[in-house]
């Protein structure tokens, strides 16, 4: 069982620092996209407590298969910032040579799966990874994250069913930010203009029961709660899967390609009590880990640091165009060799 003492004050403070860093980085990356340095960007605001909570809960032996909105979780899990930002800015140092959109990480040596753009396209693969863990009797469990909209896909239901049938060591973690682009998940009280369309009429966490295992709903704005529940779930997953639905709110647009004012009024403005940054400050103040002067100095530090980072990565060179045809197959086919002549 996880006790309060399981997590030190130092860990909590570091986690808070990462929440602040994620918030600043998010704003600056969004800004970079407005200035044309990033052709596309997926904002993070509203997800920070979930990201940092699960990142804190994942151990080196666990396998994490994330989706495209999990930047902070990757950082909290321990991926060097340089590696993550090279991916986001598609620089020549990106381990995948800038082949995917921002936030599509793939870090096999850290037990992190390759993020796929297709919503829920990774969930069935996560079950296969879990099967391999079980077959090889490997230490650790599998955690995979996804949005609320993802729970409408066939992939979600098939993956949940397989996990139940083979009793896989898995945590299905739904980051319910209450919207799939413009379509509300459960319309009530999330500010959606149209309350007749929705992702589902049934509670997401209850869907686990139909597949033979437990589902729980937690507060996704409280990173300590997210950490505790996720850690517990990862440890208990050896006895079978679990579904966690973490409730939060997507405070920004879905991506740089939409304007939320068209389909909703924001019910969680920045700085309000349900903003995960504010909720985290309050929680740590209540535990006497944080005070106002620390909040200010951490803000100043992260503001400076993230400005420097984004300025640097905006200007890093892109991958050499000749790498573009590499690594389609282990052995290059004759027609790819011919097409090398087309890249000048």
């Amino acid at each position: 069982m996880i006790e309060k003492t399981d997590i030190s004050k130092e860990d909590l403070l570091n986690a808070y620092r990462n929440i602040v860093m994620e918030r600043f980085l998010d704003k600056k990356m969004l800004n970079a996209s407005k200035q044309g340095f990033l052709p596309f960007y997926i904002p993070l605001m509203g997800h920070e407590a979930i990201h940092i909570g699960i990142g804190l809960a994942i151990r080196n032996t666990d396998f994490f298969y994330p989706y495209y909105r999990d930047f902070g979780a990757i950082i909290e899990r321990g991926i060097p910032l340089d590696m993550a930002l090279s991916q986001v800015f598609a620089t020549e140092d990106d381990n995948a040579l800038g082949r995917s959109m921002p936030n599509h990480f793939s870090f096999k040596k850290y037990n992190i799966g390759a993020v796929i753009t297709t919503v829920a396209g990774h969930l069935t693969a996560a079950t296969g990874i879990a099967y391999a863990y079980k077959y090889r009797k490997k230490e650790g469990s599998i955690i995979t994250t996804f949005g609320d909209g993802a729970t409408s896909t066939p992939d979600f239901h098939v993956a949940m069913n397989f996990a139940g049938v083979y009793n896989l060591p898995m945590v299905f973690f739904c980051e319910n930010n209450q919207f799939a682009i413009s379509v509300p998940t459960y319309p009530a009280e999330n500010g959606a203009f149209d309350q007749t369309y929705m992702e589902t009429r049934g509670d997401i966490y209850k869907k686990a029961e139909a597949y033979g295992f437990k589902g729980i709903r937690i507060d996704g704005t409280d990173f300590v709660e997210v950490y505790r529940q996720t850690r517990k779930a990862l440890e208990n997953a050896k006895n079978g899967p679990i579904l966690i639905e973490a409730m939060s709110y997507r405070m920004g647009p879905h991506s740089t390609a939409d304007d939320p004012n068209k389909y909703r009024t924001n019910t969680v403005p920045e700085g309000s009590a349900k903003d995960p940054l504010i909720a985290s400050q309050k929680a740590l103040k209540d535990m006497d880990i944080l005070d106002d002067s620390m909040i200010k100095s951490i803000n100043d530090e992260m503001d400076r640091k993230t400005t420097e980072l984004v300025n640097k990565y905006e200007r890093e060179p892109k991958p050499d165009k000749h790498t573009m045809l590499d690594n389609l197959y282990e052995e290059e086919p004759w027609y790819i060799s011919e097409e090398r002549g087309d890249v000048q």
């Binding site: 390759a114 990774h122 296969g128």
Partner: protein, 318 residues
Amino acid sequence: MTMVKALNSALDNAMERDDSVILLGEDVGTDGGVFRVTDGLLNKYGKERVIDTPLAELGIMGFGIGMAMEGLKAIPEIQFQDFLYTGMDQIINQMAKLRYRTNGDYTVPMVLRTPYAGGVHGGPYHSQSGEVYFTHTQGLTVVTPSTPYDAKGLLLSSIELNDPVIFLEPKRSYFIKGEVPEDYYKIDLRKANVLKEGDDLTVITYGPSVPLVQNTVKKNNVNAEIIDLRTLNPFDINTILTSVKKTGRVLIVHEAPKMFGVGAELAATIAEKAIDYLSAPILRVTGLDIPVPFALEDYYVPNERRIMEAVNKLLNYQ
């Protein structure tokens, strides 16, 4: 032994050598697969390695891909190629692209086996020849055997490959017999097989159409060179061009429909690289451009009459 037995023998050899080889699919366990390709393997290797799955092609595909990402060698069976489309997203967007989009951080060394094409009067949903859906997906290796010997050797080579393979088994040839060694052996996946040498024309074919072409050529004493592609993508361009430059006349035979088919790619490539050697237009004899009809399947597939009409047209072309 039959092609079914040859495939079974290949799986048996591979599983014996390497405990990372895992079979999965609908009815592959106790039932041994609806065509019996996995017969007896559950008893020999146990439930952890021969897995009966819920009825969901999407799940079977993703399950196998995940295993492959974690170092196992998954060999899923999709009961009929016609039903694989419900898992097609996993093939196109995950299996085929993982190596490329991660620049090799992850690979998917997995072999997806599935029976395809006609021969059992299965109507529109047990007879499809969907090979172009896979050949037109970058990153896949698409293999199709024509004999029991090739079936075993090509399957073992596919299992050793570090990339995903779509292994299309011509169900009309499942019960043809041939010599097959019990031991482990491999066949080069990047080389076509010249089944018969000849001077007057080149017939390029593969999988389910190979026996028909061989019988037709033999019965009618045609001095044709017959090439069995074995691998559709990447196909063996050198063997094709060498033969075409010798004969100057080309016939392509496949059971899949003609429009936008494998034949179109072969013909275009030959025209691009060897048009100066051709003495006649490139012709195709293929399945008709309709879904496979239940009662009239025999009129749908290529036959001796249509092949000979094309052969004579090519030989008489001035």
